[in-house]
């Protein structure tokens, strides 16, 4: 396959622009990132700086790869991270536009790599449970209803890639935050810190990201198909947390 790539190039601290590269000799068995590796090999041989992009596991579970491909986060294939997108989805002679994810809190580091550490700030605000350490407790010590376990597992599938923010016209991080809030709030282990967590994570999210207008673009872009239902559940828990935390603060 012979492809033509329009790639966003940007040096730190400078304005970026699109550059066009030819990509001949691409096999349809390659993944999208392997295709970029091949292009980069040639750029290095030619003495040009290779295209910077992020990747790690390349099997769709780490959430490191992040490309806006032809105007869609993670490219045209539904429920698939960029690394799992394969070149057989493209035809010989295709033109592909690749740019970084854009949000005010996702500054471009270089070329296609953006700084997503604002998502870490949300996670640090309450995306954990406090548990005493020591010897492992017995299995099945805490009964978990099957439905709750299933829902929590669906939320926990979030790999934190940030595609929801990239796809959102408002750059809102509601889908990410709701997945991180609800996978703990749905389980017995998450109850002790439920209201503190919800309030802290939502308010940290709002320091960095926009507000949800219920377009639903995030769910379409999500490689793990996290449901919009979690956003509704988080909205419900957030207003409850405002009431509960007020009561809890009186018990100190």
């Amino acid at each position: 396959m012979h492809l033509t790539l329009k790639v966003w190039r940007q040096e730190p601290g400078q304005n970026g622009m699109f550059q066009t590269y030819e990509a001949p000799g691409i096999s349809e068995d390659m993944s999208f990132l392997e295709m970029l590796d091949v292009v980069n090999e040639r750029l290095i041989e030619e003495g040009t700086a290779p295209i910077v992009f992020e990747s790690d596991c390349r099997e769709g579970i780490c959430g490191t790869c992040d490309l806006m491909i032809d105007g869609q986060a993670h490219g045209p294939e539904k429920a698939t991270a960029t690394c799992q997108l394969h070149m057989r989805k493209y035809n010989d002679g295709d033109h592909i536009t690749i740019e970084p994810w854009r949000a005010a809190s996702f500054p471009v580091i270089r070329d296609l790599a953006v700084d997503r550490s604002a998502l870490d700030a949300i996670q640090e605000a309450g995306g954990y449970i406090s548990a005493p350490t020591g010897s492992a407790s017995d299995a099945n010590l805490t009964p978990v209803p099957k439905d709750a376990a299933d829902s929590a597992m669906d939320a926990a599938a979030c790999i934190g890639c940030g595609a929801c923010v990239a796809a959102c016209p408002n750059s809102a991080a509601q889908l990410f935050t709701s997945a991180k809030v609800m996978h703990l709030n749905l389980l017995p282990q998450g109850q002790a810190e439920r209201w503190k967590r919800t309030e802290a994570m939502v308010e940290t999210m709002e320091e960095y990201f926009g507000s949800c207008t219920n377009h639903g673009e995030c769910h379409e872009a999500c490689p793990k198909e996290i449901s919009l239902d979690f956003i509704a559940l988080m909205n419900k828990d957030y207003v409850k947390s405002k009431i509960k935390n007020r009561k809890l603060s009186g018990q100190k």
Partner: protein, 275 residues
């Protein structure tokens, strides 16, 4: 979790776009956060939607003729008669409506500002919308259209600014016909009510999400409710200008002369006869 490359000299978070503010006491604190504002927007949206539907259904009295419509208008003014002076209950409801409009618009404007700050605007390479529809992406345009239309509608049929001498207080049937006879007015009513239906189409669905009303068993109904409400309001509200233009609610067969001194008494007598 996403691993992010650290910048030379250690990693540093991007600056927050908003600073945390000192929290106000509980119900007011909802107005300080985006999720809370969306709650307020949804709750006031429910109230405003209730008003729009009730207003449309009440106006259907126009198809019963001038006497019945005047009676309906008078009933609204004398709500709670016997307990409250004339117009008091109506004004309490109006103040509630004004407050709901105020909160709804304030939330929309401040959330929009927040989103403009959070989002760099667009993708220079272009982007595809998959789930976002025309209605959801035009809320910030249909909203102001509805506000302008509301002010026009009040000036037109409540205050009678443009009708001048033709405006007869207490005879809405006549005012409606006199106003709709002008083509530009007819066009404004049709365009604005289409914008209203589009706004409701997204708003009535979106409010379930904002309020956290979510149950897998009933989620499929939410879109249906939004479509029915938007359709109901669209058909009902558009029927008034269109059927008036078609001549169904014109004044050809009117018994009481709207410009006569005693038009209100005449309408009352007609009502007694009809009963």
């Amino acid at each position: 979790m996403a691993k992010t490359m650290s910048k030379p000299g250690g990693s540093r978070r991007p600056d927050p776009i908003r600073k945390p503010v000192k929290a106000l006491p509980f119900p007011l604190s909802l107005g300080q956060t985006a999720v809370g504002k969306k709650w307020l927007m949804a709750l006031t949206g429910v109230g405003l939607l209730g008003f729009v539907v009730a207003h449309m259904i009440g106006n259907l009295h126009v198809y019963e003729g001038p006497a019945r419509l005047a009676e309906y208008a008078e009933t609204l003014r004398t709500l709670g008669a016997g307990l409250f002076p004339r117009g008091v209950i109506l004004w309490i409801m109006r103040l509630g409506l004004i407050a709901m409009f105020g909160i709804h618009i304030w939330a929309a404007v401040t959330l929009n500002q927040m989103n403009l700050k959070a989002s760099p605007g667009s993708y220079p390479g272009g982007r595809d919308y998959i789930a976002a529809n025309f209605a959801s992406r035009t809320m910030r345009w249909t909203g102001p259209i509805i506000l302008l239309y509301l002010l026009f509608h009040l000036a037109d049929l409540t205050w009678g600014w443009w009708l001048g001498d033709k405006f007869v207080h207490g005879d809405p049937y006549h005012n409606l016909d006199a106003s709709m006879n002008r083509i530009p007015v007819l066009a404004i009513y049709i365009v604005a009510n289409i914008a209203l239906a589009i706004h409701i189409f997204h708003g009535a669905w979106s409010m379930f999400q904002s309020l956290g009303i979510n149950n897998p068993k009933y989620n499929s109904l939410r879109r249906g409710i939004a479509v029915s409400l938007a359709g109901l309001v669209l058909v009902g509200n558009l029927s008034f200008p269109i059927l008036n233009a078609a001549g169904l609610t014109d004044e050809d067969n009117r018994k009481c002369d709207p410009y006569a001194e005693n038009v209100l008494e005449c309408l009352e007598e007609q009502l007694v006869e009809e009963h």
